[in-house]
Symmetry: C2
Subunit: 213 residues, 2 copies
């Protein structure tokens, strides 16, 4: 990966990483990303699903989608994925913190127009949301492919940031009578709400059983 | 609120809202936001904690923090809060979707320098992360206040977008043998990890019991 002024770790560099494996692992463990770009200097940030295939992040949307169309036009983008792992309660308000894993990818998107590549990218996004699902859904028709915009961004200028562990209080605060510690957070699936009578597939029950998610 | 070209709901307008109560409710239910801005046309998106007080969103960080300093310098920002409520599995890959609530606030930040306002804003962020906590932590010292940058953004140019409910498949797909329905998601707290022997406060156990979160 490239180390540029944007991926230089500015503060708390000990929490940062340019390691490609770390970046990939966080992208794979995340579910949604926030995509930023600017038009006439004015920033936009929108949430969306995504998938990683090798060294690219794939994003999709309706062909008429403003954000996707703008990305496809070649503006610079920042794709940020954040996993909230826990709240860190220190004795002092000042040292409260958050345990998280995040990745920022700076890149320019390119539209994916080859039909085979487009199918592969779109099914990767379905599979990323629900592992096991891509093989258990009606595949896109040619008309659906045309109605969908798929773009990909190279994971080249990217960095990861991770905070983990307990609170770091000042020594003189350690005896204060305030509970201190971590409140771990997890995104979990609740009971599925069926829309038909097809038996629940095993991958639905397995969702989120991935320890890294 | 102002309705501008940026908050105009471009697509799926039935999912959108400019209602201030809706915007406030989503901001209050969220935990983290993603903040975007551009420097020389290049976008940045970073995750951070926040709080809403009345008609402003408050963000904080170390006084040396690049993102916060840039915001405080008066660049335009977009603050996006997204709550992932569930995955929507349709019979067709094409109609897979996500249930979510999101808010975008377009604004320019102003630094909060009055010490009383600054204390109030910072404690609101602690309280937003863990309701009940602000009264149970050592308050910031004057030196800690000086080491912290607090900015606020007016909630004026803002919009909300909500998707809820089950899959919307094409009529001819309704009989396909693929399970369809919703997989509701929830951000939950796991067992706290204590850093001292102070008894667990009740607000820690109550975290996330708010039905709207």
């Amino acid at each position: 990966m490239e180390h540029t002024d944007r991926t230089r770790l500015r503060r708390k560099a000990e929490r940062g990483s340019h390691d490609l494996e770390t970046v990939h692992a966080i992208l794979d463990a995340g579910l949604f990303c926030h995509v930023g770009f600017a038009v006439d200097g004015r920033p936009w940030v929108f949430p969306t699903a995504y998938a990683r295939i090798d060294d690219h992040v794939y994003l999709h949307g309706a062909a008429a989608n403003f954000g996707l169309r703008t990305l496809a036009s070649g503006v610079e983008a920042c794709v940020t994925v954040t996993l909230a792992d826990g709240l860190v309660l220190a004795r002092s308000a000042f040292h409260h913190s958050v345990n998280y894993r995040s990745v920022m990818v700076f890149a320019t998107a390119e539209p994916v127009s080859d039909p085979a590549d487009k199918r592969r990218g779109l099914m990767a996004i379905v599979e990323h949301l629900v592992p096991g699902r891509a093989a258990d859904a009606r595949p896109p028709t040619d008309a659906e492919l045309r109605a969908t915009l798929l773009v990909r961004l190279p994971i080249v200028e990217a960095s990861a940031k991770i905070r983990s562990g307990g609170p770091i209080d000042d020594a003189e605060d350690l005896g204060l009578p305030h509970w201190a510690g971590q409140l771990p957070l997890r995104l979990v699936a609740l009971e599925p709400v069926p829309d038909n009578t097809v038996p629940e597939p095993a991958y639905l029950r397995a969702w989120g059983r991935h320890p890294e998610r």
